[in-house]
Amino acid sequence: MPTLKRRPLPAAGEADDVPRRLFADPGVPDRVFRAVARGGGGLVLAVMLLVGGFLLLRAWEALRRAGWSFLTTAAWDPDSGHFGIAAVLLGTVLIALVAVCVAVPLATGAALYISEYASPRLRQTLISVVDLMAAVPSVVYGLWGFFWLEGHVLPTARFIATYFGWIPLFKVDGADPHDPLAPETVYTSSTFIAGLVVGMMVAPIICSIMREVFSQAPAGEREGAYALGATKWGMIRSVVLPFGKGGMIGGTMLGLGRALGETIAVYMVISPVFAVQPHILQSGTSSVSSLIALRYGEAGEFSMSALMAAGFALFLMTLVVNFAASSIVARSRSGATSDA
């Protein structure tokens, strides 16, 4: 039982009337409760800091040996001392960017559809479907990407490479667009396909955050827009989208964070190369997480340290993206109450 204790009143004339400190004694059970709760919080904090700390500790040897060339070297050959994350980092970022470019229009459209256009009963079903999809294991997306998508997306990749190959990003070395019998293997296992798979994976996550934010747009402002003669799209453009802007950016960045860290689906689709390869339609790419999954088994002590360094770089990157995302969401008008 909390009780309010105070020091005895000073005798009259003994001292001036100073403000007394009030002190609430919470009692033993409450003190224990607070200590346990604080301990739980501290434990979680310790685990989370340990993750970063331990990775850095293990990575230190490789980082010290490689120095700044760790960021600029493309090859991955730690045993000869020639290794760096330039290629894998570029691959990771390109895959994530393709994924976000695919996922954001899809997710925005779907979120608007669910929150603005769908009937209430359909809305509930769609919310469940999208939330379920966010929980589908990544290995299932990997299976889909490897066994179905890769075969069906090749004509599209060839089309883009043939007609837009003059853009450096879409260039494919070794492809001959004028030879109809040319093998399509130059287009397989590319950044583009991996990005599509990861995009499908992060789309539900982005969609559910955006939907949450859109549905919080105040009804009064919506009806105000209608009262001024706006069409539904006019209302969405002038009320819902500005209101949900923070959530849209934050959701996109959270999706980007997930896309950067995705391992298994990417690993199943791509064929790893360790050279700077900026052509997204061309076969062969790499990502930090698939590098770790590929090489951890055969790694000796020093190569393991190098892999830890790569993992630490990935960790830092997702941490920065995620911090930015949550601060954008929290600062936006809609983000004060949303859990995004």
Binding site: A135, Y141, F146, R222
Partner: protein, 422 residues
């Protein structure tokens, strides 16, 4: 929350008001709250459908299909179903805009086009997602009908053996064991931490919350790498089910804390204040008011975290090792789980192994689906909403309390005692 505007009241209320106005000063009359959410506003359905709209959609669809067919088969050197769909869709939007512009003006045309685009995007996302899941389930149809798939492990089955030999029992038990250990670790810590974030506020709690939020997107392979660095390289343990479970815990912990934090934040502050006002201590308030109110949401949070953890491959890949045999001891020896088994099966070029991989993926999906449905059933209610049985139980308990108080008052009528236990 917006307050209802203080408009002059309706005539039905105004008449008695006018008759009493002579006897005293005029009183403020608040309009009765509407049938919707108390005090809030409700969105109205404004959609209408006209025949001309339907004609425009159908006409544009038919025209775009025919035009695309003409382009594809007669005029241009394109091929592939994806190209057909993309061009047909672009043509559909253009033709639809044209048809609508015959009898509407600019903003209405933009409205229709945006509506069509948004609807198709929503449909596309859901269709793709359903297709991804349906594909895995459908491809699993070759392995799933064999009963031995669920009752044997892969010890006796070589890569060339037909599907009637070998199964994934070892992966199912491995998954269940790993997720159980992970839950035993994460649920208490996660819930205590979520309670801490909400009930012991302060600078430290804010800091922990920021860190936890940032860790929600921790790449799962980094979680695996952490456990690999500490337990396997640092302490020299073997790869085992326990290490995999701990890696899963590191990954699931922020997810569960985050979800539980959101749910606890939704518990109305008035409930807490009411508990404090009766003199309850902080921890009694948490135990008897906050946690029971948020129970269904907390369950959902845990189940959804489980669903995420059960499907993770990469932490398990690094820490569990691979085995074709059943291993019931999580502390020693490699232990395989469902996603890891899927991943390993489909690396093989043999069709039977790939079929096993899809069968394993279908089993895993069924498990995730089951968890998700459970979460929906339990978590369909907001904080404080009770099922009929819970409500009945609550009423009965309250009645019992009243009888107990009455009996006690009869025994000692003169000395009033503190009703709130500590």
């Amino acid at each position: 929350m917006t307050l209802a505007p203080q408009v002059p009241d309706t005539p039905a209320v105004a008449v008695p008001e006018a008759s009493t106005a002579a006897s005293g000063p005029p009183r403020t009359v608040l309009p009765a709250p509407g049938p919707g959410r108390p005090g809030g506003e409700r969105r109205r359905a404004l959609a209408r459908l006209r025949t001309s709209d339907v004609f425009a959609v159908v006409g544009a669809a038919l025209a775009s299909l025919s035009l695309t067919w003409l382009l594809f088969t007669r005029l241009l050197p394109f091929d592939g179903p994806v190209g057909f769909v993309v061009i047909a869709y672009a043509l559909f939007l253009a033709l639809y805009a044209l048809l609508v512009s015959f009898d509407e003006d600019g903003p209405a045309v933009a409205d229709r086009i945006a509506g069509a685009f948004v609807r198709s995007m929503g449909l596309l996302l859901v269709a793709v997602l359903v297709f991804v899941v349906g594909y895995a389930l459908w491809e699993g149809r070759r392995a799933l009908p064999h009963l031995n798939f669920f009752t044997q492990d892969m010890k006796l089955a070589g890569p060339l053996d037909p599907l009637s030999v070998g199964g994934i029992l070892h992966a199912i038990t491995g998954t269940l064991m790993q997720i159980t250990i992970a839950l035993v670790v994460t649920v208490p810590i996660g819930l205590v931490c979520a309670v801490f974030l909400n009930e012991v506020p302060g600078r430290f709690a804010r800091f922990v919350r920021t860190i936890v939020e940032a860790m929600t997107a921790l790449p799962s392979i980094v979680a695996g790498l952490f456990i690999y660095a500490t337990l396997i390289l640092g302490l020299g343990l073997d790869r085992s089910g326990l290490a995999a479970a701990l890696a899963l815990s590191v990954m699931m912990l922020p997810i569960i804390i985050r979800a539980a934090d959101v749910v606890i934040r939704l518990v109305p502050g008035t409930l807490r204040e009411a508990a404090y006002a009766t003199g309850a201590s902080r921890w009694r308030t948490v135990w008897h008011v906050v946690l029971p109110t948020a129970r269904s949401g907390l369950t959902t949070a845990v189940i959804l975290g489980t669903a995420r953890g059960i499907g993770e491959t990469s932490p398990v890949l690094l820490t569990a090792g691979f085995t074709a045999e059943m291993n019931l001891d999580p502390t020693s020896g490699p232990m395989v789980s469902l996603p890891l088994a899927t991943f390993t099966f489909v690396q093989s070029p043999e069709p039977a192994m790939i079929a096993r991989g899809f069968g394993t993926a279908a089993t895993l999906l069924a498990l995730v689906l089951l968890l998700f449905v459970a979460a929906r059933i339990i978590g369909g209610r907001g904080p404080g909403h009770l099922t009929r049985r819970q409500e009945h139980r609550r009423v009965t308990a309250s009645r019992r309390d009243a009888q107990r108080f009455a009996a006690r008052d009869r025994e000692t009528p003169s000395t009033p005692q503190d009703a709130v236990g500590t």
